[in-house]
């Protein structure tokens, strides 16, 4: 039996020129785990909003076709009615939690639907236990972390035990730990309680192993609807930007079929006689720790650094210590990724670099201006037109020369970020340091690749570039050096190939498959090819 059926749905947002969905037909059966894949603005969110009844009831616009959720036709039933069958979860946890305590938040949808107090109490208890948030029930929502808030919002979506849950990039605002936890939770809901899941997600490697089907959208049309392995094979030829790193590694190495995850990839390599352990043996030896630069060398580096943090402490008044004696030097033209879990001190360190904060001890020295791009590019937008925000040269440098007459808030996420970058770089004096705080949140793979290229160009121009990121794939692609922060101090600092190869968590998917012998799919494929050539004459 199908829980969600879209029949020939075409939808155009009010005021938009092009439709966001074009003749989409789709059926989701009971108990299925369906992943929606696609680049930004491909129609994933619109499809989910149509399934939730928000399109067209909330957004207006021109709608044709039919959406059936359970037995409810969205043309006749609004989002409130649909919510009894389909719970919805969106990107931003802050705006999805509307009440001040967790218990009230979970009770809210049940009270709205007119359940009795006993049913409300039971629904709250069940949802809290199922999602592992029973300990949070009496906590104020203002005190919760992003991951906890998103779990609470999921709890509110599930409080009435709807058979279908619609999720629109729910991990995009979360750190990787919280994001992975949420995906595991969805998997458990699907496997243990039979809840049907429709999940839109950019980082497909996170969820393909749990998925029954992947529906790929391109320009508002369903371009592929297939099991994960078949989808990856399709993506290899039709949409390479949708390939997972593991699938790209296999595709570049000429191996088939593409793996759906690390375990699958390792098993396939083992079967092909290319065990990860054997590959790891090919990994170049880590430099000897005894090769530490001399004091004179360190002093020279400090003198020549574009940015130098010397024994920087940040101790909050009446609060915790965020940075603990950080020593860090960035040379001109160097591109550094700053990694670490939430609360490790990455954002604080960048704020110190840009002079937004003063160290409680130690000092920060920069050889010129520090341009800092904070996490939310929308915060930089103050004017009514794009060309009022930055000079034509700065806009051209980030590829926005043809959008000068647009309102900044009408731009897509990636365009907003480019505009924000143009704003902070727009000065006659070129910046000595460019710092970016979590620039890849919610970005698709193609936009991340564009950003990486832009950062490399800035570094090539002589600026020291430092990027705080949770994304090891991006760090491996963009940075030459990785600094890992933990508890306010660097615990690893070295070439990306060294830092991102040996870890469990801070490691790329390719590194996990190849036992750390390669970071990126292209390197991994080259390694596999080399091994094959070495083994061929032996045979």
């Amino acid at each position: 039996m199908s829980l969600l059926r879209l029949e020939d749905v075409t939808y155009t947002y009010a005021g938009a020129r092009e439709p966001s969905l074009r003749r989409v037909s789709l059926e989701v059966g009971e108990g299925e785990f369906v992943v929606l894949a696609g680049a930004s603005a491909s129609g994933k969110s619109t499809l989910l909003r149509a399934a939730a009844g928000l399109v067209p009831h909330f957004h207006g616009g021109a709608f044709s076709g039919r959406v059936l959720v359970g037995d409810l036709d969205t043309r006749a039933h609004g989002p409130a009615d649909i919510s009894t069958v389909a719970g919805s979860l969106f990107q931003d946890p802050e705006t999805q939690v509307v009440l001040t305590t967790v218990r009230a938040e979970l009770a809210f949808p049940l009270e709205n639907r007119g359940h009795s107090p006993a049913e409300v109490a039971r629904g709250v208890e069940e949802a809290a236990l199922a999602l592992g948030i029973a300990h949070l029930l009496d906590r104020p929502t203002s005190e919760l972390s992003g991951g906890e808030l998103q779990r609470v919002a999921l709890g509110a979506a599930l409080a009435g035990r709807p058979p279908l849950v619609l999720l629109d990039e729910p991990t995009s605002q979360l750190d990787p730990v919280a994001g992975d936890e949420l995906i595991w939770l969805l998997r458990r809901l699907n496997e243990e309680w039979g809840t049907t899941i429709v999940l839109a997600e950019h980082r497909l490697e996170r969820c393909l192993a749990a998925a029954d089907r992947v529906v790929a959208l391109v320009d508002g049309r369903v371009a592929c609807d297939a099991p994960p392995r078949d989808f990856l094979a399709w993506a290899g030829t039709h949409a390479p930007s949708l390939q997972t790193p593991a699938a790209r590694l296999f595709s570049l190495a000429g191996l088939t079929p593409p793996p759906t995850g690390v375990k699958d990839a390792r098993a396939a390599l083992r079967a092909a006689g290319r065990d990860a352990r054997a590959l790891a043996a090919a990994r170049p030896d880590a430099p000897d720790p005894g090769d530490r630069p001399s004091r004179r060398e360190r002093r020279r580096r400090r003198r020549e650094a574009a940015l130098s943090l010397e024994g920087v402490w940040h101790e909050r008044r009446g609060g915790r210590t965020v940075l603990r004696g950080v020593d860090l030097q960035l040379a001109p033209g160097e591109l550094v990724a700053l990694m670490g879990r939430n609360g490790a001190g990455k954002s604080t360190l960048l704020r110190h670099a840009a002079g937004l904060m003063d160290p409680t001890r130690g000092r920060v020295r920069a050889r010129g201006r520090v341009a800092l791009l904070l996490q939310h590019p929308g915060d930089y937008l103050l004017a009514e037109r794009v060309d009022d925000e930055a000079s034509p040269e700065a806009l051209a440098a980030v590829g926005l020369a043809d959008l000068t007459d647009r309102h900044p808030r009408d731009l897509s996420g990636g365009q907003r970020q480019r505009l924000a970058l143009a704003i902070v770089l727009d000065s006659p004096e070129p910046p000595a340091v460019v710092a970016l705080d979590e620039p890849t949140r919610g970005m698709d793979r193609a936009t991340k690749a564009e950003l990486a290229a832009r950062l490399r160009a800035l570094a090539a121009g002589g600026a020291a570039v430092i990027v705080a990121t949770h994304d090891p794939e991006f760090a491996a692609e963009a940075a030459e050096r990785v600094v890992l922060l933990a508890d306010g101090r660097p615990v690893a600092d070295g070439p990306a190939a060294e830092v991102l190869a040996g870890g469990w968590y801070f490691a790329t998917e390719t590194a996990r498959i190849t036992g750390g012998a390669a970071l990126l799919p292209a390197d991994g494929a080259a390694l596999l090819g080399r091994r094959q050539r070495e083994e061929a004459p032996a045979r």
Binding site: A52, G53, L54, H57, F58, G78, P79, A80, S83, T84, G87, F90, E94, T95, Q96, V97, V98, L99, T100, T101, R103, A104, F108, P109, E111, N112, R113, G114, H115, S116, P117, V120, A121, R139, P140, S142, A156, A157, G160, R351, A354, L356, R369, A371, L372, L373, L374, H376, G378, D379, Y380, L381, L382, A383, I423, V424, L425, D426, S427, E429
Partner: protein, 298 residues
């Protein structure tokens, strides 16, 4: 200052009982005639705040309010021409003319300031220890939309304040520092307002998918769905009884003049025994519900 859940009897009591108790304490301060009774009420409210684990927060508000209370006392003694016990003559001050400072004027001003301080403390304790969600859930029986609007404001004001801080930081990251003057401030304000509108749209969509629209058609205010299932706990009963006792004592004292105090034209108070009995009764009624600490864990 905001509600924080702590392990205390006042936090454990339902919001209606807690709110009633805080209002009774504030009302007792408004009707108290004698400075000793007022001082006793102030001490009792501060002790209650400490017993509720929010002593520091309430004391901080008290410390902020105390200078204003003194300013009120000062203005009263300078402005009011009543009272017969002159403590200082300032001579002729144009355009006010002859100014004589009287003991009665000073005491009245101090009492006025202290009354204001005590009421502020009572409502600070209310803000820190009474769950706004629980209170608003009760209000929904009267008006669903108003209660939800108030809750959203409580929830989103800190979020919007954080947005404003972030936008200001982003402004400082611009090469020109974001500029200055009225135009820059207006641009900042416009950006904060646009952000607030974006957030409002997201919140509205969330309300829709949480079934808010269905509330109109299915559950009516006053219906079973809006009644609380929670049985009255020992703390609910204790604070409700305490509130009624405090209100009863204050009203009875006001009507009978028990423990009364006159400021003008000369200071004239009730016998000390009466004053102490009234102060003792009010303090005991206010503090007794804090003693039983069973079942206070959140």
């Amino acid at each position: 200052m905001r509600y924080v859940r702590r392990a205390s009897p006042l936090h454990a009591a339902r919001a209606a009982a807690g709110a009633l108790w805080c209002c009774a304490a504030g009302a007792a301060a408004l009707t108290a005639q004698h400075p000793v009774v007022l001082c006793a009420l102030t001490a009792a409210i501060l002790a209650s705040a400490c017993a509720s684990g929010v002593g520091r927060e309430v004391a901080r508000i008290g410390a902020w309010m105390a200078p204003w209370a003194l300013v009120i006392a000062l203005i009263n003694v300078l402005v009011v021409r009543e009272g017969l016990t002159v403590i200082a003559r300032l001579g002729g001050v144009p355009p006010f003319g002859q100014i004589d400072l009287t003991l009665e004027g000073l005491v009245y001003g101090l009492m006025f300031g202290l009354r204001l301080l005590t009421v502020t403390l009572a409502f600070s304790l209310f803000a820190c220890a009474v769950d706004p969600d629980d209170l608003l859930r009760g209000m929904r029986r009267l008006s669903l939309r108003s209660a939800l609007g108030a809750t959203l404001a409580v929830r989103l004001v800190p979020v919007l304040a954080a947005d404003a801080r972030r936008i200001d930081e982003a402004r400082r990251c611009r090469p020109d520092g974001g500029g200055g003057g009225v135009r820059a401030r207006m641009a900042l304000l416009r950006s904060v307002a646009s952000n607030a509108l974006d957030r409002a749209l997201d919140v509205a969509a969330t309300l829709e998918v949480r079934g808010f629209g269905a509330a109109r058609s299915r559950a009516r205010p006053g219906s079973d769905a809006y009644r609380s299932l929670r049985p009255w706990s020992r703390h609910d009963i204790a604070f409700a009884v305490s509130a009624l006792a405090v209100a009863g004592i204050a009203v009875a004292a006001g009507l009978t003049g028990f423990g009364g105090f006159e400021t003008y034209p000369l200071l004239d108070g009730a016998p000390p025994a009466q004053v102490l009995a009234l102060a003792g009764a009010l303090v005991a009624a206010l503090l007794l519900p804090h003693i039983d600490r069973r079942g206070v864990e959140p």
